[in-house]
């Protein structure tokens, strides 16, 4: 199986491609049925508090997950195109707006010989928004690392 690949098809997009050893309808269901979504989306130590997905054109979805330190992250949007099991398009906005405005997410599922490839494309409002994502918990962790670096510069280690 091909490993996950990430490309930047334009200056406002990120594209994530990955293949799965399963038929397209099964992979599609895992993306669109709440009982299945909550089983895999996100890191294993984050749990879903809310997982709603109204799988039809015009339907809304809403995800709220809680991290191991109690931090909660919410997002949601509207499904704008829905063709099971090959194509889905939706809007997405995080409660804390880490993505610099709404993104438009599309996912194309292509099955060949029982292997389904998902091509997820996220279109950001601006290039700056795509290249941002500096306020995520991960970025805060890096910020702490840089603060330690600053401290080191003030007090260089003696050996």
């Amino acid at each position: 199986m091909q490993p996950l690949s990430i490309t930047l098809p334009s200056d406002r997009e990120i594209q994530v491609t990955r293949s799965f050893a399963a038929p397209a309808d099964l992979v599609f269901d895992c993306w669109t049925i709440p009982a299945l979504i909550r089983r895999w989306l996100g890191p294993a130590d984050w749990v879903f508090i809310t997982c709603e997905f109204d799988a039809r054109v015009g339907g809304k979805y809403r995800f709220v997950t809680r991290g191991p330190d109690g931090f909660e992250m919410g997002s949601g949007g509207t499904i704008t195109e829905f063709i099971r099991p090959e194509w889905m398009k939706s809007t997405e906005l995080y409660d804390m707006d880490w993505t610099g405005g709404e993104t438009i997410n599309s996912n194309r599922f292509t099955e060949v010989d029982g292997i389904t490839t998902s091509v997820l494309t996220v279109l950001y409002a601006t290039r700056e928004a795509r290249d941002g994502a500096r306020a995520t918990p991960m970025a805060e962790g890096m910020e702490m690392g840089f603060k330690r670096l600053d401290e080191l510069l003030e007090n260089p280690p003696a050996y």
Binding site: D25, C30, W40
Partner: protein, 118 residues
């Protein structure tokens, strides 16, 4: 160009040492010779040179071909990849999709053949 996981391993291994991070912070302000880097650290020149070798192997610094001075130059791109948004993004989807592999295998172990579903 996206970072490979081995490049990131090299980057993070190089960053794991406080002296090397301090060297990078100094170089972020501008190129410096080995002698200029030795001064603030209270370390021998061979010790600093060993740290520079690790940073150079990881692609985090390069030596300019400037006759005898050979100033050390910071290479921004691998650092940006290591601390950047793209790596966060990659980790999120790698983790999720590994879990999805497991779920799909579980579902298929119960489900009839796909052409009989629905």
């Amino acid at each position: 160009m996206l970072p490979s996981s081995s490049q990131l391993d090299l980057t993070f291994a190089a960053l794991a040492d406080p002296t090397r991070r301090a060297i990078l912070a100094r170089l972020a302000e501008g190129d410096a010779t080995v002698n200029e880097l030795v001064a603030p650290f209270d370390m021998s020149q061979p010790a600093i040179s060993r740290h520079l070798k690790v940073l150079e192997t990881a692609g985090l610094v390069s030596r300019r071909q400037d006759a005898q001075r050979r100033p050390v130059h910071i290479e921004a791109l691998p650092l940006a990849d290591a601390v950047g948004w793209l790596e966060t993004y990659r980790k999120f989807w790698e983790t999720s999709y590994e879990r999805l592999d497991g779920l799909l295998a579980e579902l298929q172990s119960f489900a009839p053949k796909s052409d009989q579903k629905n």
